[in-house]
Structures are given as C-alpha cells and as structure tokens.
C-alpha cells in the first residue's frame, strides 16, 4: 500500500524534465449516472501525460469502460451522463463536446469488442476513420499506407468484408481505423478480449510502436492485468466505480495486493474471507 501516493501521476508519465507541465488529459473526480438513477462512477480521477501509456485495471463492472466512454463522450448515446467533476484535454474542458468534436481534437476511442463495420471492406473501415479530416485525399491515402505498414496483414485483406475477417484482424482494423483520424490520444478498451495470447502480444507491440513513433498517448482499459502492467508506465486500479490503487506500473507489479487479487500469484497462506472484506472497506476510505 505504500505505492499509493508516492509518485504523482504526471511526473511518472512525463518523460521530459519539466515535470510540472500540465498533463494532456486529466479526469477530475467524475461521477457518472446512467438512466438518471444508476450511479456507476463515484468520483474517478486520473491523468495521462503527453506520450504516456496508462493502464486502467479492474474486474468486470468496475467502471473501466464507463470511464473511457465518459472521456470520449459516447456515454450520451447510452443514456449516461457525467453529473459531477470535469474532464480536461489539452487545457480545455471537454465533457460537453460531442464525440465528433473530440475526434477532431485528437481523442478517439477503440471500443470493446472491436465494432468493425461488418458489411464494409477492411479498407473502407479504415477510411471511415478519416471522416473528420479535411486535409485532402492524398494525405489520407498516405496515412492509409502508414496503417498498412504497421499492420501488413490488413493490406492482404484490404478488400475482404470486415465481418468475415478473424478476430485479430478485426482488432487491427479497429485500431487502424482510429489511427486514420490522426489521434493524439487513443482510448483502448480491452484490445486483448477473445484473442490468442500470441496475437495479444503482437497487437500490444504495435500499439507500443504507435506510442513511440507517432507520439500517440494511450489510455488502456484491460482485464489482462499482467499484460497491461508490462506494457504501461502507470496504472490505476478501479473497483466499484472508485480508484482504489494507483502507481507506477513496476510498483503495482510488485505490490502484494495486486499480485494476490489481480495477478493470481500471491504467496503464502490464503487470507480468510473476513479479512478480505475488511481490507476492501479500508481501501475505500483511503481513496
């Protein structure tokens, strides 16, 4: 538990020396309510620095997807609403903008479960990602080639109907499609879902390259804690709509509680159920 407040997130994410620079994205104690009654997020705060890779971890229903959708503002389409708190991207409050505005400003979400346009070809899928751009066909064409350079597999399948491609290819299509909007920040929701470990590795590798070469900051929601902590440089753990733990990825990996509850490699004798419960309760007080 000592990891919790040691490192300030923006310091951890910003590789540059000027550690006090404002983060690219900051989410400040937001509360999200669905359908006017269902409280899903109970005050979540997090920051992502320019060029950072931040992991958002937690089990089913912890609020990872809701957090991402609150940022990209896809919540409204599901009758969700940010009722408290603010979301600031690049110095501007963005919680009242439409998804279209956000994509134009460089924030794009790759949704859980891939969500390719099934009846469109792979290439058409990629081109829809450039919808908000108005810098001309030649530029878009060039970016298409860049996407194919990152995902050579998609080039071979460019004319195939996306609905008939494999799960891995669909995930690549979804990421490539987001890349076509020239994002500054990508919100990745469970890219590993339903994919073979080898493919997950391949996709994470490519995302790391995007971060490296294209300077895309990444906020990644994952259940695959092990993979995510290897890949990210900072992490937040969500439980029941609250952040219960945060810290540098390496520190989280070595944390006993994370090992026990999320990585499944806790050593020593098992704790009793009663202890476990009180532990959780204490955690909520802390956050």
């Amino acid at each position: 538990m000592s990891v919790q407040r040691e490192a300030r997130p923006d310091e951890a994410n910003t590789p540059t020396v000027e550690a006090e620079k404002a983060p690219l994205l900051s989410v400040n104690s937001i509360e999200v309510i669905y359908d006017h009654v269902i409280l899903v997020l109970k005050g979540v705060s997090l920051t992502v620095g320019e060029g950072g890779i931040v992991a958002l971890l937690g089990g089913n229903g912890a609020g990872k997807t809701t957090t991402l959708k609150a940022i990209s503002n896809l919540l409204k389409a599901e009758r969700g609403e940010v009722t408290k708190g603010t979301i600031v991207f690049d110095g501007e409050q963005v919680q009242d903008l439409t998804p279209n505005d956000l994509v134009r400003r460089g924030v794009i979400q790759v949704m859980e479960g891939r969500h390719c346009f099934e009846h469109l070809s792979v290439e058409e899928n990629l081109l829809t990602g450039a919808f908000t751009r108005s810098d001309g066909a030649a530029e878009i064409r060039a970016d298409l080639e860049r996407v194919y350079a990152y995902f050579p597999r998609l080039k071979d399948r460019r004319d195939a109907q996306a609905g008939y491609t494999s799960g891995g290819e669909q995930q690549m299509t979804a990421i490539g499609r987001a890349l076509m909007s020239r994002p500054r920040m990508m919100l990745l929701d469970e890219p590993s879902m339903g994919l073979a470990p080898q493919l997950v590795e391949e996709i994470f590798d490519i995302v790391r390259q995007l971060n490296d070469k294209e300077g895309v900051s990444i906020l990644l929601a994952e259940q695959n804690t092990n993979m995510a902590l290897k890949f990210a440089n900072f992490g937040y753990i969500l439980e029941n709509g609250r952040v219960v733990l945060d810290g540098e990825a390496s520190a989280l990996r070595d944390n006993d509680d994370v090992k026990e509850f999320y990585l499944g490699i806790g050593g020593g004798e098992r704790r009793s159920f009663r202890e476990f419960k009180s532990y959780r309760r204490r955690k909520r007080w802390l956050s």
Binding site: F117, H119, L120, E124, L127, T128, G163
Partner: protein
C-alpha cells in the same frame, strides 16, 4: 374437373393463343412495378441507415408532388420549381430530424415507427393546408402517347419512368459506394456506436438520409402525378410498397427494384388471366399474399443483407 382445368391450364392456353397480348400485359405490369419500386426505394434508404420503417414515405410522395404543382402554379419555370421542391424536401428532412428523430434518439424502434405514423398525418395535413385539397393535374412535359415495336405497343411514358428509376438507382449506388458521406451512411447502418466513436455525427447522417428519401419521393411524385394526378390517395401507395419491401429485402435498393417488377408483373398477369375466376379486383390483395408466402421461406427477402455469422 372443369374448375381445375379453368384454373390451372386454361389461362396458359390463352397466353399461347395471343402471345403479343401477353407481352403487352407483362410490359404494363413492369410499368406498374417500377412505380411501386420508386416508393419502395425511399423506404429502403431510410431503413438501411436507421432501421426505421418510415410510414410517412407515402405522405412525402404526396407532399413532394403537391409542392411541385404549387410552385408551377405560382408561375415558376419547371427547372426552378424542381430545385425549389428539392430545397423544401431537404428542409423537411432537417425539420423531421430536429423535431421527431433527435428527441427520440435511443428509444426503441417501435416508438420511432409510431412517430413516423404521426408524421405521416402531419405531413399530409400540412400539404393540404399549404396547397389545398383539390386533385391537381401534373404535367411536366413528359412524353405521352405510344409507338409500336413490331406488333407490340409501348407507352413512351413507361420508358421515361423506367429510365428515371434506373438513373435514380445508379445515382444512389454511386453515392453510397464512392463518396465519403455514402461510406459514412453505410457505416452508420452497420454499427451506430462505432460510427459515433470515429466521429461520424449521426444527426447529420440522418438529415442526409431523409433528404435522399425526399428526392426519391419527388421523383415518385412526378411519375405518379403524371399518371394519375396529384391526389390524396397517393398516401396509400405506401402500403403497396410494403409487400415489395418484404419480397426484396428491407435494406436492399436492388431488391426494391426487382421485387417491384415481380409484384407489378405478377399482379397484372394474375388479374388479366385469373382475375375473372376469382371475382376480379385481385390486384388489391395479390401482392400481400405473395409477400406472406415469401415470409415463410425467406424472411430476409430476395436481396436482404445476410446476417454475418462467423464460425
């Protein structure tokens, strides 16, 4: 025995005895079918993009026809009247999105369907209020009369109708396949959420969709109006488009054309050769019976989009 013979074999003797008459009947049926198809395409475009069965399509045909006649009566030249009517139809699309679809977004589809029923009456009433309730003759100078190919009589107007339906379909398909907005339209049809996530504004897409449906309604209005005058019974042709859609597949534009032809030819031939035995007026129900039988065997229609299921 005699009844069976009359029903199953007799009509075919008639067909063989007078083949030229049969060809003319088929051509007449195809002409009727194209008219149905023109209305059905309007339905298909909206259904494809939003999953809404737009009950108001018939009212939009009437409204487009009335508006065109109104502008012509005000003394506008034809080209200006056509452009002005297109502008009015786009404005209507915008208003529908603002007033009806926007506020109802995320509601179950049945709610949107009910809303279009209401919309149908509002458009009809508004058209009556603005342009009066008389039957208007519409003459935009389309060629009338007929000519002979060999022994077969062909109506010039039918050729024009077929030609404009064909041109309309080609234009729609080119727009859908090769433009940025067409691609966005298909993307929205596939997956609303994903379209939203890549920054496609749904409201703008809906305005475009309804505008296209409005232009299709105008073409249908011109054709129907030339043939039968602009009158309020035009609203009812929307019902004839439903069996066409069931046969062709609700989201297929090609399907609407092919199914329109099948229904048109089918009901005309049936009426001419079998109608007497059934007591006449078979045109009123033939299409619905065909659609019903079709639902048993191929509910997604002839050209309906197949549901992709990977194994």
């Amino acid at each position: 025995m005699q009844v069976l013979f009359d029903f199953l074999i007799g009509p075919f003797f008639q067909i063989f005895e007078a083949p030229i008459f049969f060809v003319e009947v088929v051509i007449g049926g195809m002409a009727a079918g194209i008219m149905y198809a023109l209305v059905a395409i309007g339905f298909a475009v909206i259904f494809k993009a939003s999953g809404i069965v737009n009950f108001a399509q018939g009212a939009m045909v009437l409204f487009a026809g009335l508006t065109l006649v109104g502008f012509l009566q005000m003394g506008a030249p034809l080209w200006l009247a056509l452009i002005a009517t297109v502008v009015v139809m786009v404005a209507l699309a915008y208003a529908v999105e603002r007033v009806v679809l926007g506020p109802l977004v995320n509601q179950p589809l049945i709610v949107l369907f009910m809303a279009t029923i209401g919309l149908s009456f509002v458009i009809e009433g508004f058209g009556e209020l603005a342009w009066g309730s008389d039957v208007h003759r519409l003459d935009v100078g389309l060629p009338r009369g007929s000519f002979f190919v060999g022994d077969i009589m062909i109506d010039r107007f039918h050729l024009v109708a077929a030609g404009s339906a064909g041109a309309l379909v080609v234009a729609i398909v080119l727009f859908m396949q090769y433009t940025k907005f067409g691609r966005a339209l298909r993307a929205v049809a596939d997956d609303h959420q994903a379209a939203l996530s890549v920054g496609i504004p749904l409201r703008m897409i809906w305005v475009i969709t309804w505008s296209i449906a409005g232009v299709i309604a105008l073409v249908a209005g011109v054709m129907w109006g030339t043939q039968a005058g602009i009158q309020f019974s035009l609203v009812l042709i929307a019902f004839k488009a439903l069996p066409v859609l069931i046969l062709g597949g609700f989201n297929s534009i090609t399907g609407a054309i092919v199914a329109g032809l099948i229904i048109g030819v089918g009901e005309t031939v049936f009426e001419v050769y079998w109608g007497q035995m059934m007591g006449g007026a078979t045109e009123n129900w033939f299409a619905y019976v065909v659609a019903m039988i079709f639902l048993f065997f191929r509910p997604q229609g002839l050209f309906g989009e197949r549901i992709i299921e990977r194994v």
